[in-house]
């Protein structure tokens, strides 16, 4: 079922990109339908896993990524309606697919006994929800930079016509940031407390946290926004991806 969901996401990505280019109403409706179908399949798949294993579906890395992706798709569908950005899928879904595919390729790394600890479960869930929000933050920032470049260059191209206003994109990314940051903060604290020793994972995730904290602080203090905030979002997301990579590839609490 999870594989079927991934296929649906791949198809939805193709459709969303097609919609970005040719803007057929039918394509948009299909994109939404296929995304919803993928999400429903994934929900069913994750529930099945939970019932089967008698525990949350975070025991292996692919499962954990799947949960993050599940939340990211849900957020995307919500934001698309909330902010009326019909092309949002074209920017979020590719990230979703890349994450999912790398998740499945990593293989079932660990069967951690640690997951019986309730605090660890909370750590995992919070960190994953945080990641989902930052996927949206990242995609919104890419869109912001594209639109800003078009407006600065004063030569309207495809993106000028397709993307929403800078202010809308700024609101979206800021909202995603304020949503993800608390999750990430608490999730990291729990994780660090439990590990108690140094691991590259902690270094990368701390870097991500610092970048996001800096973005928030500079906006509050100096009104930093726009392009700078977008660059920070991209850096922060890169650090998060490295964190995930470190979690799988290096021996430690998340990998075998």
């Amino acid at each position: 079922m999870l594989n079927l969901a991934l296929i649906a996401y791949v198809v939805a990505t193709g459709l969303a990109l097609a919609y970005l280019v040719q803007r057929e109403e039918v394509t948009y409706r299909l994109t939404t339908a296929v995304t919803l179908a993928g999400w429903a399949l994934q929900t069913a798949g994750l529930i099945a896993r939970t019932v089967e294993g008698g525990r949350g579906p975070f025991a292996s890395f692919p499962e954990a990524v799947s949960v993050a992706v599940w939340a990211a798709v849900l957020l995307e569908l919500w934001a698309e309606r909330q902010y009326r950005i019909r092309v949002l899928g074209a920017f979020v879904l590719p990230v979703v697919v890349v994450l999912s595919v790398s998740g499945t390729m990593a293989g079932p790394a660990l069967q951690s006994t640690a997951l019986h600890n309730v605090w660890i479960t909370v750590h995992v869930v919070l960190a994953l929800l945080g990641i989902a929000a930052f996927v949206l933050n990242f995609a919104g920032s890419i869109m912001y930079l594209l639109q800003e470049r078009q407006l600065k260059a004063r030569r309207p191209g495809t993106f000028y016509y397709r993307l929403p206003s800078l202010e809308t994109l700024d609101r979206l990314t800021f909202r995603a940031l304020t949503l993800g940051f608390p999750f990430l903060t608490v999730g990291l604290m729990l994780g660090a407390l439990w590990t108690g020793r140094f691991h590259p994972l902690i270094a990368f995730s701390t870097v991500a946290w610092v970048i996001y904290a800096f973005t928030l602080a500079s906006r509050a203090v100096a009104g930093w926004r726009g392009r700078r905030a977008a660059y920070c979002a991209i850096l922060g997301f890169a650090a998060l991806v490295l964190t995930l990579g470190a979690g799988v590839l290096l021996p430690g609490p998340h990998g075998s």
Binding site: Q22, Y161, S165, L166, T168, G223, W224, R225, G226
Partner: protein, 425 residues
């Protein structure tokens, strides 16, 4: 059933000198419509007369004669001979005429593709024809469908969306920077006409309040009154820049009046909230390097023209998608129109055979007074099956013939063959 046709001339073939002559007011059109109908050469007629096109839509047995008749009448109103008009006239019939009507209503045949006035003009022309009772069922159906197609094109494509004037392009750009213009503040510097127009458009889209600065205080106050804004002293330009979102400049100054340093200072005060400069003045009022500052967007008159050009290209791209919609709708309309040609024949054919079946069934049952319910049902089913089997091929053939455009001869043949009464169409 007569032939549906359109004849006319438009901005594509006819020079403005001819079009302005032939563009008639409603009263004259009524006169022409009445006169043309009175001849009996046309079953239905409607005239679309704008400064970009003069077209006659009609249903007639002989479209060529109907065209000559109508344009002779139209020309006569302005002392123009038919011979002079003939070379400029085009005529399209049936499918091509439907296609033409749909494209005109959807503003795909307009001088500026997507311009919105044409639809209103067509609606008016239809109303005039309806008033004169020259609009029959064919033209009525044609235009109702054309209006629906125009609406579809407008909602499903961006053919009419992007600005084709410099002042509207500025408004559109503002909407790509800010999420809506409600409550955005504007500063208008100078009293140039284009600047005032752009400011007016911004106000119409919800921008408020609007500040007006001018070297002449009296002029600033005058303009502020006209735009329901507030006059600010010219010396306060920099301070005002710190609180507004959009600055429109159109002064006659020979040097830039808004420097990069001034904008930088203002930006500091506004905590990096975006600032949009629309510089319509020549020579420019805003230093061009202002655009390099973060969260500042500065467009001069050439930039705005470039945006308009890009918008026109975007309209053309969207027009291609619109053409596909129109083509599809034309096919559907023509198919339905042809089906309508054979539908009455199919109905009377069915009615005739059903009457025969009923009569024969009654006769048979009269001879079988003791027939069981089962026998009756069997006879009923048997006769129905025979009728349906016999009808199947003729009906299929009729529908096929109508789609191939030969419905007329086939219906006549079927009527003859089965001795059907000919109903008036």
């Amino acid at each position: 059933m007569g032939t549906l046709f359109v004849s006319g001339l438009s901005h594509r073939e006819a020079p403005v000198a001819v079009r302005e002559q032939l563009a008639l007011e409603a009263d004259k059109l009524r006169e022409v419509l009445g006169h043309v109908m009175a001849t009996g050469a046309l079953a239905e007629v409607m005239i679309l007369s704008t400064c970009n096109r003069v077209e006659v839509y009609g249903v007639a047995g002989a479209p060529a004669a109907a065209r000559a008749l109508t344009f002779r009448q139209l020309g006569a109103q302005r002392g123009m001979a038919l011979d002079g008009l003939e070379p400029m006239l085009y005529t399209k019939t049936e499918t091509d005429a439907v296609h033409h009507a749909f494209r005109v209503a959807a503003s795909l045949d307009s001088m500026i593709v997507g311009e919105p006035q044409i639809l209103g003009q067509v609606k008016e022309a239809v109303a005039v024809a309806q008033d004169c009772q020259t609009l029959g069922p064919t033209l009525h159906r044609l235009w109702m469908k054309a209006f629906a197609v125009a609406k579809r094109v407008r909602t499903e494509t961006d053919v009419a969306r992007h600005a084709v004037s410099v002042s509207f392009a500025a408004v559109e750009l503002a909407k790509k920077i800010f999420a809506g213009l409600d409550g955005r503040t504007v500063l208008l510097v100078g009293a140039g006409e284009m600047g005032e127009l752009a400011a007016r458009h911004l106000v119409e889209q919800g921008a408020f309040p609007i500040y007006v600065a001018n070297r002449t205080w009296a002029r600033a106050q005058e303009l502020a009154r006209a735009l329901a804004g507030t006059a600010v002293p010219f010396a306060d330009l920099e301070a005002t820049m710190a609180i507004v979102d959009i600055v429109v400049t159109s002064t006659g100054a020979s040097e830039p009046i808004i420097t990069r340093e001034a904008v930088q200072r203002a930006l500091h005060l506004r905590r990096s909230r975006p600032l949009f400069f629309v510089d319509i003045a020549v020579p420019r009022d805003v230093e061009p390097t202002v655009n390099e500052l973060a969260n500042v967007f500065c467009y001069d008159i050439d930039d705005l023209k470039q945006v308009v050009d890009a918008n026109l290209r975007e309209r053309e791209r969207e027009a291609q998608r619109a053409e596909a919609i129109v083509k599809h709708e034309v096919e559907r309309f023509v198919t339905r129109r042809r089906d309508q040609e054979v539908v009455p024949t199919i109905v009377s054919l069915r009615t005739r055979l059903e009457a025969i079946r009923q009569a024969e069934l009654e006769k048979a049952l009269a001879k079988l007074p003791d027939a069981s319910a089962e026998t009756r049902q069997t006879l009923e089913a048997l006769s129905t099956a025979i009728v349906n089997k016999i009808l199947h091929v003729p009906i299929t053939k009729l529908r096929e013939s109508s789609r191939a455009g030969q419905g007329g001869s086939w219906t006549a043949f079927v009527h003859e063959l089965f001795g059907l009464r000919r109903d008036p169409p």
